[in-house]
């Protein structure tokens, strides 16, 4: 009946709330323990080596950061592209963007060799480094999205709503491009070094972000007993399908371009054919679980209710996405640097053969800790502020608890 959404906080300190926070807190505590161990012992206790220098933490961090910018999409749909149906979701979308970014950055920072020197990173900038630019992009993203959120929430700021929405939208595109460029600029690494990395990352971000959004939206609605209706999840899952298709398309494009480059057939064969775990994750995880299956669920209609389909597809996209980032980050490093093209090489420093990498439990803990941080931030956000719609679609009973 009403076009106006009412938002309510989530009631804190309920049994479920406490259990959730305790659970997430425990994961974070374990992650911090793992960090302490890794920092105290040094990185040799992880699976990372002088050959595979970025490991599982980076997989999680890149996934979260990429998803962060994509999570903002839903808000942009509502405000930049005027899709009114998405507007009630804008606040959660912005919050999730900040939360995911916070989680990703936390992992990234905690995996540094010297996380205690964070202040150095904040005060010493090498403006030639895309990485340094990313520090600025990330902090700026937080600020822009926070401002955007404010304009969504405070009626006094209504007139800044559009500009803020546009700024946030622009910023997030730059941000994802920046993240893609971290890899794109590594000319020496054969797996990367291609211009399609930028659009590929944008497609990835759309898909991961929306999937994360759908999961958080559905779970928070379920846990706080809010009603949603079927129209919205149906629309969201179709949109997700679109993004997944785009991701598949750019992945294909990437590999075709790679094959076209002279001298890149080795690495391509490695990823696509004989790379063991990486190949398995590429086909089974990235393409199958994260691409074809969700497409089928989104468009094929598997007979389940839209909300269930949306959840299923999102879980697949998240898992497939992690696989995809693994293939990019780890797979790309596993393929040896070719110092002497056309020659066979060997050395005490592992030249000339594929590098193996097996993540340690510590890295898994840290990565999961990042996800937990993102969820804690999200939970705190929807607890402290009115971000979550009281209901979506037709209101049913209205026995709302106090905030």
């Amino acid at each position: 009946m009403s076009a106006i959404t009412s938002y309510t906080q989530v009631r804190p300190y309920t049994r479920g709330w406490l259990a959730l926070m305790a659970g997430l807190g425990a994961v974070i505590a374990v992650a911090l323990g793992a960090v302490w161990h890794m920092e105290h012992q040094g990185h040799w206790v992880t699976g990372m080596t002088n050959q595979v220098v970025w490991g599982l933490p980076h997989v999680f961090a890149v996934f979260l950061i990429v998803a962060a910018s994509g999570a903002l999409n839903v808000a942009s749909m509502g405000s930049v592209f005027g899709r009114v149906g998405y507007q009630p979701l804008g606040r959660l979308s912005a919050l999730l963007a900040v939360a995911l970014l916070a989680g990703g950055l936390a992992v990234l920072v905690l995996d540094l060799g010297r996380p205690d020197r964070l202040s150095v990173a904040m005060t010493h900038f090498n403006f030639k480094s895309i990485f340094a630019w990313n520090v600025i992009l990330y902090s700026g993203f937080m600020a822009v999205v926070a401002a955007y959120l404010w304009t969504m929430m405070d009626w006094r700021a209504k007139r800044f709503y559009k500009p803020a929405a546009l700024a946030a939208f622009g910023w997030r595109l730059i941000l994802t491009t920046g993240t893609g460029c971290i890899f794109g600029f590594l000319a020496a690494r054969e797996a990367y070094g291609a211009a399609v990395m930028a659009p590929l990352f944008i497609a990835m971000s759309f898909a991961y972000g929306l999937a994360a959004f759908i999961l958080v939206l559905s779970l928070s609605f379920k846990m706080t007993r809010r009603s949603m209706g079927d129209a919205l999840p149906a629309r969201l899952v179709r949109l997700l399908g679109l993004f997944v298709a785009a991701n598949l398309y750019f992945t294909a494009l990437h590999h075709v371009t790679q094959l076209y480059f002279a001298g890149r057939s080795g690495v391509e064969a490695f990823i696509l054919w004989n790379g063991g775990i990486h190949t398995a994750l590429f086909w089974g995880g990235q393409v199958g679980l994260g691409g074809i299956l969700p497409l089928a669920v989104a468009y094929g209609g598997c007979g389940h209710a839209p909300r269930k389909r949306a959840m299923m597809a999102s879980v697949m996209v998240v898992l497939g996405g992690l696989a995809q980032v693994w293939v990019i980050v780890i797979g790309g490093q596993a393929w040896p640097l070719d110092l002497f093209p056309g020659m066979e090489a060997s050395s005490t420093f592992a030249d000339g053969h594929v590098h193996d990498y097996a993540p340690s439990a510590w890295e898994v803990m840290l990565g999961l800790g990042g996800i937990a941080i993102a969820l804690v931030v999200t939970t705190l956000g929807i607890t402290a502020l009115r971000l979550l719609p009281a209901h979506l679609g037709e209101a049913t009973g209205s026995c709302r608890s106090p905030d």
């Binding site: 220098v53 971290i182 020496a188 020659m343």
Partner: protein
Amino acid sequence: RQAGQPASAAQRWGLLIDTSKCGVECTVCVEACKAEMGLSGHDRPRTDAQYVRKVNVRDPATGAAHSVPVMCQHCAKPPCVDVCPTGASMKRADGIVLVDRHICIGCRYCMMACPYKARSFAHEDQSGQQPHLPRGKGTVEGCTLCVHRIDEGKPPACVEACAARARGAMLFGDLNDPKSEIAQKVAREATTRIRADLGLEPGVRYQGI
């Protein structure tokens, strides 16, 4: 250049390595480097630091084989420096590429960027450190071209050792000084750079590959 003078762009320090004089089994330069830089290691080859390594290269077509010492190539256009977010990776005016271990945050982006895999990460606490090269857990390090020796007017340790205990395959000098032996030899003979196609203009040149 006089000892104690600041580094200047007048110099461009470089190495010329004649692989034909490099024995397959010879690791004199590697051992010398370890001793000079205090790289005692933990006997964990995957994570221990190596500033210089011997790469055995074989041409599958001809069967011709070489053994090539590879260290930081002290690129003129070093990607490690470009990507380093804090500016810890830096190039001295005289072309030597170094890591400032006080501002390195251990992000390892430089290791991702270096095409020569010339850098190592200090994966754990180090012992047996040399006073001129304090090594800290959690930062990145690599061949310094023995900058501490150069500043005292001495050649790098590996070069000295190779000359003394092997066949003198390594030549050190100022590529910018036309009178220097290395500059004359580079001008005279056919030398190559590893992955010259990348256009990084390394300061280390090779002969015979």
